[in-house]
């Protein structure tokens, strides 16, 4: 199979607001049918980039190619993109049916075809029969569905979603996450999601671009992003990451000496950054360490420490463990299993570790 032409190509996109450099050379390709997320803290430029793709912001230099065409000077109403706004922007003076049909006004469709298309779109988002409902009589989740139906009815090449779930409560958000993924698979349209919620991005995306200060810090699939962040900052932003002090040596292969854990050999791809030897920080995820109980099989690499803090979550327990010889504690997540006690603060604990899980930030 030949590689498909990407639906969106961002070529060295820069955006200035006066002196403020909001986008600093964004280059990325987004494939047909991909669920792509722009993830970053507020002010990182992710929304600016989304709005630039939609045509609401002009870019200062670079190019945005959409379906092979340069979008420079193309107004938002002539771009093959549609947007789901953060506030949903449901027209309050129109009912659900007229909201969804809004974009069809210039389609030249007959009234009967329109009614049919609106019905299908509402059915698709699970709002069949809601057509006559007034806009203000909708709940948050329903507004979101109307916004989705209204955007998807035009069959855009790309659907842009600006923090679409941030206004919903936690339960509703989780429901909508799953529904969005299903919907995206169903329609096969490229989705670009802007979010500051790393969990949301990990759950939903095929690929994620993590943005800091107007630059893409890392662009990877969720698993790689989580397992092998390219910088300490990305590691901290995505999920929870512990950092231990250590020193990196290179003689034949790489090895690290970690305060509190000991010495271990590591593979070259685990070393990110400049690769310079000497003092480094070693990143490890909470689930890559595990506390050993008496009935566990003997483990090759173990370390000991004292429990500083216990956070009980029901299915999981988080322990803050101060390893003997380490300056700071590490957070360890343990699945709660029947027959295993939850340790108490002040208890001694032994943990097993595996150097393959480490990422060394030089």
């Amino acid at each position: 199979m030949t590689k498909q032409e990407p639906i969106i190509r961002l070529e060295n996109v820069h955006k200035y607001y006066g002196d403020y450099h909001a986008l600093r050379g964004i280059t990325a390709e987004i494939g047909q049918g991909e669920f792509f997320s722009l993830l970053g803290p507020s002010g990182c430029g992710k929304t600016t980039l989304l709005r630039a793709i939609a045509g609401f912001e002009d870019i200062s230099s670079g190019a945005i190619m959409l379906g092979g065409k340069n979008m420079e000077g193309v107004a938002p109403n002539h771009r093959p993109t549609n947007m789901v706004f953060q506030s949903y922007a449901i027209f309050p003076h129109l009912n659900v049916e007229h909201n969804v049909a809004f974009g069809l006004r210039k389609s030249g469709m007959s009234a009967a075809d329109k009614t049919c298309a609106v019905g299908q779109a509402l059915e698709m988002v699970g709002l069949g029969g809601y057509g006559a409902r007034a806009a203000h009589a909708l709940s948050g989740g329903q507004r979101q569905r109307v916004a989705l139906a209204r955007a998807l009815i035009l069959k855009p090449k790309v659907l842009l979603l600006d923090e679409p779930l941030s206004a919903l409560d936690k339960k509703m958000r989780e429901v909508m996450q799953v529904e969005l993924i299903k919907l995206q698979r169903e329609v096969g349209i490229t989705f670009i999601l802007v979010t500051h919620d790393q969990e949301e991005a990990l759950v939903m995306s095929d690929r994620i671009a993590v943005m800091f200060e107007g630059e893409i810090a890392q662009l990877d699939d969720p698993e790689r992003l989580y397992r092998r962040p390219v910088s300490r900052r990305v590691g901290e932003f995505i999920g929870m990451m512990n950092f231990l002090e250590g020193s990196l040596e290179h003689s034949g292969g790489f090895s690290v000496d970690i305060a509190g854990l000991g010495r271990a050999e590591i593979a070259p791809e685990q070393v990110v950054g400049s690769g310079a030897t000497g003092a480094v920080s070693i990143g490890l995820r909470p689930e890559t360490l595990s506390i050993l109980f008496d009935d566990d099989p003997k483990s090759a690499r173990t370390a000991e420490g004292m429990v500083d803090e216990v956070v009980y979550y029901g299915d999981m327990t988080y322990y803050d463990l101060r390893l003997d010889g380490a300056a700071r504690h590490v957070r360890i997540s343990m699945r709660n299993v029947v027959g295993r006690p939850v340790l108490e603060v002040g208890a001694r604990a032994r943990v097993s570790w595996d150097p393959r899980a480490f990422t060394v930030f030089t």
């Binding site: 993109t81 549609n82 947007m83 027209f91 809004f102 007034a134 806009a135 203000h136």
Partner: protein, 268 residues
């Protein structure tokens, strides 16, 4: 005890506000020509005179024409200015908006005299059109103030959503912006109409030989025998105002019901 004194205060306040207005119909239906108690007899005569006095009908027609023109012009200007002020950033925005709003606090007499001087210097005649110009000048700031509120309450992404769904900026204005700021537009039309209708100073200076109603009424005061006619006219205007107010409130409440917003404030 405290509640009692507040109630008395409210009653006194309302008497102070409305006693003069209650006197209007009282003397309008009084057959005596002198505005004094005791009342004489009941008559519709003054009302008939209102409609049969040619100059008065003429002045009323001038005033209504001016007020309608001013309401429409000021609201159009206010609509554009308010949208610009709430949606766009441009150099010296604060200064520009400030200057547009300035007539709100300028003494009308100064505005009137300056306009008259300008017209005379330019060699233009005064009349209905110059009153319209003067009134638009003082009404536009009110319109802007009202419509800025409407625009500020409107989610900016609604307009973006319409453009995103394929509408041009112009059709977006028609399909989304206008319906959503309609309550503000109606309020602005009513306020501008009312301000223009009873404005005296500018009309006095600029109306030339086409007097407006207030200018004509002022002229009538020199003839004591005609004062009951003014009372009858006043009664009609008060009745008209109440009808207008009720209509405006009806539309405002209907608008609120339609968009499902909670009622805050309003006239009644």
């Amino acid at each position: 005890m405290k509640g009692q004194s507040l109630k008395i205060y409210v009653v006194l306040y309302l008497v102070f506000l409305y006693a003069p207005i209650v006197l209007l119909p009282l003397f309008a239906f009084n057959s005596g020509t002198v505005i004094a108690f005791p009342l004489q007899g009941f008559t519709f005569g003054w009302f008939i005179e209102v409609f049969t006095t040619k100059a008065l009908v003429e002045a009323t027609r001038n005033s209504v024409f001016i007020a309608v023109s001013v309401a429409v012009l000021s609201t159009c200007l206010g609509l554009f200015a308010a949208r610009a002020a709430t949606r766009y950033d441009f150099p010296a925005k604060g200064g520009v908006v400030g200057f547009v709003m300035l007539p709100l606090v300028l003494p009308e007499i100064i505005v009137a005299v300056s306009l008259l001087v300008v017209l005379i210097q330019a060699g233009l005649s005064t009349g209905i059109w110059s009153v319209i110009a003067g009134h638009v000048l003082i009404c536009t700031p009110f319109s802007i103030a009202i419509l800025q509120g409407s625009f500020a309450n409107m989610d900016k992404s609604l307009e973006e959503a319409a453009v995103d769904l394929g509408e041009t900026p112009l059709s977006t204005f028609r399909l989304v912006t206008l319906p959503l700021v309609a309550p503000g537009i109606i309020a602005s039309l009513l306020i501008c109409f009312t301000i223009s209708l009873d404005e005296f100073i500018i009309a006095f200076f600029l109306s030339g030989n086409e007097p407006t109603l207030p200018v004509y009424v002022w002229g009538l005061l020199r003839f004591p025998a005609r004062v009951p006619v003014i009372m009858a006219l006043g009664t009609l205007l008060v009745a008209l105002s109440i009808i207008l107010l009720i209509t405006a409130e009806y539309f405002r409440r209907r608008g609120l019901r339609r968009t499902g917003k909670r009622d805050v404030g309003g006239f009644l």
